[in-house]
């Protein structure tokens, strides 16, 4: 029915707009202001970035506004356009899709607003419109885990990889990084399977269950982020299997606890807090008219049972 359709659309639009209004920050005034468009705010690494930005922003008196398109590339484009309309000092974008953002950052650049890529970069075509990229390199994270695996297993073993959403940049890069580490060490590590669990702890649990059924001789599990690694760990515990070494990426508090307890054997700590800090510093430099390097990388710290006590405070 036409009336109920229009009515329903209006109501859901009102609910949607009111919820977005609740979730975003205040509008920026004059002075040093930054407009940030996330890729998906509901992830611990983004929370850490935001904390880094807010803490560093206090030093410079920055007025920071955040938008969250929840992994929708089209929403991100319209949010970037909203940022352009607000005329901030700098626009920060964490690309959902490297190609889809290009049109929006082009508009921002043409409006005379500097654009900075954070955490997930745009493609080569987009680079002509951006000043710098600040983030961690997922390839390096994968490589660090690969090295940890080789060291912990003497370079031999049967490995299963539990990945994020198929086709995503981080997924491909972390896998490639680990494989390169194995190749460089000339390790004899057999990759039995790479199954997606879409960054979900619960999905990783059920996927790991099935992998354990399929391959009774697994000794290494590489979860492409800590929530998935911990989900896999639960499946392993529930099945009673022993001697399986689990590795993750992120450096989350619960993963560090698991390493301390001897349940996990390593995680590649993403220093996302530093990504936030460096972003604000770079934005400030750009707003002052200074040059910034084309790439600013936050380091990746491998956390192992040997050094976990030293690095524990940095786990997030």
């Amino acid at each position: 029915m036409k009336r109920s359709f229009v009515c329903g659309l209006a109501i859901s639009a009102m609910l949607g707009i009111s919820s977005l209004a609740l979730a975003t920050g205040t509008a920026s005034a004059a002075g040093f202001s930054i407009c940030v468009v996330h890729n998906d705010a509901d992830h611990p690494s983004i929370t850490a970035i935001v904390k880094g930005m807010n803490d560093e922003g206090k030093i410079y008196g920055a007025d920071i506004t955040y938008f969250d398109p929840a992994f929708d590339p089209q929403k991100q484009v319209s949010m970037i356009e909203d940022c352009v309309a607000r005329k901030p000092s700098v626009i920060v974008v964490n690309a959902v899709d490297p190609a889809a953002v290009v049109q929006a950052i082009k508009k921002a650049s043409e409006a005379g607003l500097p654009v900075v890529m954070q955490n997930a970069d745009t493609n080569d075509e987009g680079h002509q419109y951006t000043r710098t990229f600040i983030g961690s390199q997922s390839f390096d994270q994968g490589y660090a885990v690969g090295q940890m695996i080789v060291k912990a297993t003497g370079g031999k073993g049967n490995l299963v990889m539990i990945t994020g959403k198929p086709g995503q940049f981080d997924v491909v890069q972390r896998a490639d990084g680990a494989k390169k580490a194995f190749a460089d060490a000339k390790a004899d590590i057999k990759i039995l399977a790479e199954e997606p669990a879409d960054w979900s702890k619960d999905k990783a649990l059920t996927v790991m269950q099935d992998l354990l059924t399929r391959y009774p001789d697994i000794n290494i599990v590489f979860g492409q982020d800590d929530p998935m690694a911990l989900g896999a760990l639960q499946a392993i515990k529930a099945s009673g299997a022993e001697g399986i070494k689990v590795f993750g990426v992120n450096g989350n508090k619960d993963a560090c606890d698991a390493i301390k307890a001897g349940d996990m054997y390593g995680t590649a700590m993403q220093l996302s807090y530093l990504v936030g800090v460096y972003t604000v510093r770079a934005a400030y430099d750009i707003a002052q008219g200074r040059q910034v390097p084309a790439k600013i990388l936050a380091p990746t710290a491998p956390v192992t049972p040997e050094n976990v006590n030293k690095l524990y405070d940095q786990c997030w």
Binding site: R3, S4, F5, C7, G8, L9, I11, S12, A13, M14, L15, G16, S18, S19, L20, L22, A23, A41, D42, H43, P44, I46, T47, V50, A70, P166, A193, E194, E195, P196, D198, S200, K201, D202, L205, T206, V207, Q209, D210, L211, T213, R214, P227, G231, Q234, A238, S239, N252, D254
Partner: protein, 342 residues
């Protein structure tokens, strides 16, 4: 409960009048079509049997008790959500907010525990939160007459925002160890509690659907709401209660999931709104309302679980997995329209 043939024939002639050439719809009429009718009326069960036999033949670990229990444990959460969704689908309504209610209820429960509430109170608060969202859905749909699909999409955004605000986008951890037993423990050390919960819930809802006036009213609303209203049935109240029920089952599933993984995530239930509808339709619930059952929905959920399990056991490449799931969905929707347009 037997449906009057008049309604189905009426829908068939309506389809014929519109000139829809629904493939194979001409089969299954009359005495010779009896076998085909049996096949159609029990599509999910037959599909399940076929998949199980194929699985047993293609993989030597598929039919082990451990694997079968794993499958049931994996889908028990979706099963609980699908059961609530089935009740709504029978009345020709949808609840697209279940996915974010799953996350929200888990978050409420854990926050309550962190604030010092005991186990039972925290779980009651989580359930109440989900039922509250269901109430909002029901009130909006019943009193504005608007499209439930769109309304519940709107409330899902509200629920998601509430989740993000309550947690400041942090991950929260349950503080009462006994809570984890709910999602991870096993009855007699063998069958997981969540499987038992899903089964018991299905039996209770099946009884309600078949043997109570409330249950029968759901079918009436789905088949012919006007006739139901004119015979004096409390249509508005029943719809409202069903929306609250659906929110409640989503909340229950959220509690199980949070206790299973030990931590909260606002988007924990992502995708489950569609999966629950697919499972219900697979089990014989019609998207056009008026048909469906609780136990049959569990069969649909099992089909999805077996499918997921086999895709990994048989090492099907990732692209093949998506194609397989897409084909199952299309086949199910086609079978549903064939069955309803007889």
């Amino acid at each position: 409960m037997t449906m009057t043939p008049g309604k189905e024939i009426a829908k068939g002639t309506e389809a014929a009048a519109r000139g829809f050439p629904v493939p194979f719809a001409h089969l299954g009429r009359g005495r010779s079509g009896a076998v085909i009718r049996v096949l159609r009326n029990h599509t999910a069960l037959i599909l399940l049997v076929v998949l199980v036999i194929a699985g047993g033949l293609l993989s030597d670990v598929f039919l082990t008790p451990r694997n079968l229990l794993n499958i049931m444990w994996a889908v028990s959460i979706l099963g609980i959500i699908a059961l609530g969704q089935t009740m709504l689908l029978i009345t020709c309504n949808f609840d697209m907010s279940v996915a974010y209610v799953v996350g929200l209820s888990g978050i409420i429960t854990v926050l309550a525990q962190i604030a010092g509430c005991d186990l039972v109170t925290s779980m009651a608060l989580g359930l109440a939160g989900g039922m509250g969202v269901g109430l909002v859905n029901g009130l909006l749909v019943v009193y504005t007459g608007a499209n439930p699909f769109l309304i519940t999409l709107g409330t899902s955004l509200l629920a998601y925002s509430a989740s993000l605000m309550l947690t400041h986008s942090q991950t929260l951890y349950a503080t009462i160890p006994a809570f984890n037993v709910f999602g991870r423990g096993r009855l007699f050390g063998v069958v997981h509690y969540s499987i038992v919960l899903a089964l018991v819930l299905a039996l209770v809802l099946e009884f309600i659907l078949r043997r109570t006036t409330f249950g029968r009213t759901l079918y009436v609303i789905g088949l012919n709401e006007t006739a139901g209203r004119m015979s004096g049935l409390p249509i508005q109240r029943v719809k409202l209660i069903t929306f609250v029920l659906c929110g409640g089952t989503a909340a229950l599933a959220g509690l199980v999931m949070t206790s299973r993984t030990g931590s909260t995530v606002a988007s924990a239930g992502a995708g489950m709104e569609f999966d629950s509808i697919i499972a219900a339709v697979l089990g014989g619930t019609s998207l056009f309302g008026g048909h469906g059952g609780a136990l049959r929905t569990l069969v649909g959920v099992l089909v999805l679980g077996v499918l997921n399990n086999l895709l990994i056991l048989l090492s099907v490449p990732i692209e093949g997995q998506q194609i397989a799931k897409g084909l199952v969905f299309l086949a199910v929707v086609w079978a549903d329209s064939v069955l309803r347009h007889q």
